[in-house]
C-alpha cells in the first residue's frame, strides 16, 4: 500500500529516490505530457462554460486522479516512491529543508528568476522546461515575492470547518469548502501557494515545478481531513448540472472515472497521519 508522507519527514534516501524518479520521467518525455494535460485544462476550464479540472466541484477529484496517474508513473520507475505532501502551514519559510539543494533546490536568482541549485537547476542538463508559455526554458521561482505569507493553520482550519462541499453556481464565485480551499474566495489557500512559489508555479504550466505534486498532495490530504470532520457532507452536485461534473459523471480526459470513484483515498493510498475520525466513520 502506498503511503504518502510529509516531505519534512523523508530520509535522505527517500528524497533521492523521489527526485531520481522525477528526473527519469522527465528524461523519457512522460513528465512533460502531464504538464501539457494540466495546461490544457487550465485554459479550457471557464466559469461560464464546461469546467472539469479547476474552478468547479471536480477540482478535488480531478487532481486526485491526476496525482494517482502521476504517482503510478513514478512507481513504474521506482516502486518504493510515493508523492510526499508539503504542509505549507508548518514549513512556511524559504529556509525549509524542502528547498535545500538535496531536495527541490531553492528560490530563483534575482536577475532572471532562475533556480541555480538542486537536481532541477537548468545547468544540470536534466530539467529543461519544454512545455511553456514563454521563451524561457529554465525552472524559475520567486519564493515569497508574489505574496508575502503562506496560509496559516488557522486559515486552513477555518476552511475545514465549512460544512458544505460546494454550492451553485459551482465556479470561482461559489461559497463552500471547495472554492475556499481552491482559493478564489476567502482567505485563499491553494491559489496563494502557487503565487508564493512564483515562476512556472504561478502559470498554467505549473507542474513544470516538482513542488506542484507536493502542494497538490497536501490539498488532497486537506480534502480527506475535511471528509473526516464532516462525514455526513456529500460531494455536490448530485446530478443534472450543466457544464459541471456531477457525482456520477465521468471526468475528462480519462472518461472512465467519476468523482464517486475518487471519494475514498484509502482505496489507493494512506497518509502517514490519517485523519482520526475517518477510520471510525467508514
Amino acid at each position: 500500500m502506498t503511503v504518502r508522507k510529509n516531505q519534512a519527514a523523508l530520509t535522505p534516501e527517500e528524497k533521492r529516490a523521489f527526485t531520481n524518479a522525477l528526473l527519469e520521467l522527465k528524461r523519457t518525455g512522460r513528465y512533460d505530457r502531464f504538464v501539457t494535460t494540466h495546461n490544457g485544462f487550465i485554459m479550457s476550464d471557464t466559469d461560464s462554460g464546461d469546467r472539469v479540472g479547476h474552478r468547479s466541484p471536480s477540482f478535488l477529484p480531478w487532481h486526485r486522479r491526476f496525482l494517482l496517474e502521476f504517482e503510478a508513473a513514478l512507481q513504474a520507475v521506482d516502486a518504493s516512491v510515493s508523492i510526499p505532501y508539503w504542509d505549507w502551514t508548518a514549513d512556511r519559510t524559504t529556509r525549509s529543508s524542502l528547498w535545500a539543494a538535496d531536495f527541490l533546490g531553492g528560490t530563483g536568482r534575482a536577475r532572471d528568476g532562475q533556480v541555480m541549485d538542486g537536481p532541477f537547476a537548468y545547468a544540470t542538463g536534466k530539467w529543461e522546461v519544454t512545455v511553456r508559455v514563454d521563451g524561457r526554458n529554465y525552472l524559475r521561482r520567486a519564493l515569497g515575492e508574489g505574496v508575502a505569507q503562506l496560509p496559516t493553520k488557522a486559515e486552513v482550519d477555518a476552511v475545514l470547518a465549512m460544512p458544505v462541499y460546494d454550492m451553485a453556481p459551482w465556479n470561482s464565485s461559489s461559497n463552500g469548502f471547495r472554492n475556499n480551499l481552491e482559493g478564489w474566495r476567502g482567505a485563499n489557500l491553494h491559489n496563494r501557494v502557487h503565487v508564493w512559489v512564483g515562476g512556472q508555479m504561478a502559470t498554467g504550466v505549473s507542474p513544470n515545478d516538482p513542488v506542484f505534486w507536493m502542494h497538490h498532495a497536501f490539498i488532497d490530504k486537506l480534502w480527506a481531513d475535511w471528509q473526516a470532520k464532516h462525514p455526513q457532507s456529500p460531494y455536490l452536485p448530485a446530478a443534472g448540472t450543466a457544464n459541471v461534473v456531477d457525482l456520477r459523471d465521468t471526468m475528462r480526459p480519462w472518461n472512465d472515472v467519476t468523482p464517486a470513484d475518487m471519494l475514498d483515498h484509502r482505496r489507493f493510498y494512506a497518509f502517514d497521519a490519517e485523519p482520526a475520525a475517518a477510520a471510525s466513520q467508514r
Binding site: N39, M43, T46, R132, G135, S206, P253
Partner: protein, 130 residues
C-alpha cells in the same frame, strides 16, 4: 510592428494612454472624450517597461485570433497573444499569472510584462485534451 502609432505620436505617455483605455470603457467617458470615439471602448495601445501592450475589446459574436471565447478581449504583448480569462466576479487572469486575479485587462497585461522579464510569449496552444 514597431512603427509608432498615431496615438503614440500624440505624445501621450503610457500612463495617459492607459487612462484612456480604462476610461473608454464607460459610456460617460466615451461621450465626453473625443479621442475615445476614434477607437472602440476598452482599446489599449501602450508601451510598458519596453513592451508593447495592445488590447482589442471583445465583440459579441466575434472571434479573435484563435482564442476560444467570443466576447473576451484580445491581449497582445509585442504582437504575441496572451491567453486571458474573465472570472465570474469580473476579475481577470492570464496563463502567465493564472492564480492571481486582476481588476482589468490592462493591469493583467502589465503584470504579464513584469513576469516575462523580456521573454516572448509562446504561441497559444489550446487544450485538445478532451
Amino acid at each position: 510592428m514597431n512603427k509608432i502609432t498615431r496615438r503614440q505620436a500624440l505624445g501621450t505617455t503610457a500612463g495617459a494612454l492607459t487612462v484612456l483605455g480604462i476610461a473608454g470603457a464607460t459610456a460617460h467617458a466615451a461621450a465626453t472624450d473625443s479621442r475615445a470615439a476614434t477607437t472602440p471602448a476598452g482599446t489599449v495601445d501602450e508601451v510598458y517597461q519596453g513592451r508593447r501592450i495592445q488590447i482589442a475589446p471583445g465583440t459579441g459574436g466575434g472571434h479573435h485570433g484563435g482564442h476560444h471565447s467570443p466576447g473576451l478581449p484580445t491581449v497582445r504583448i509585442d504582437g504575441r497573444e496572451l491567453h486571458v480569462m474573465q472570472n465570474a466576479d469580473g476579475t481577470w487572469i492570464s496563463v502567465v499569472n493564472h492564480y492571481e486575479t486582476f481588476a482589468d485587462p490592462t493591469s493583467l497585461a502589465r503584470a504579464a510584462v513584469r513576469e516575462l522579464q523580456g521573454s516572448q510569449l509562446a504561441p497559444m496552444q489550446m487544450g485538445g485534451m478532451a
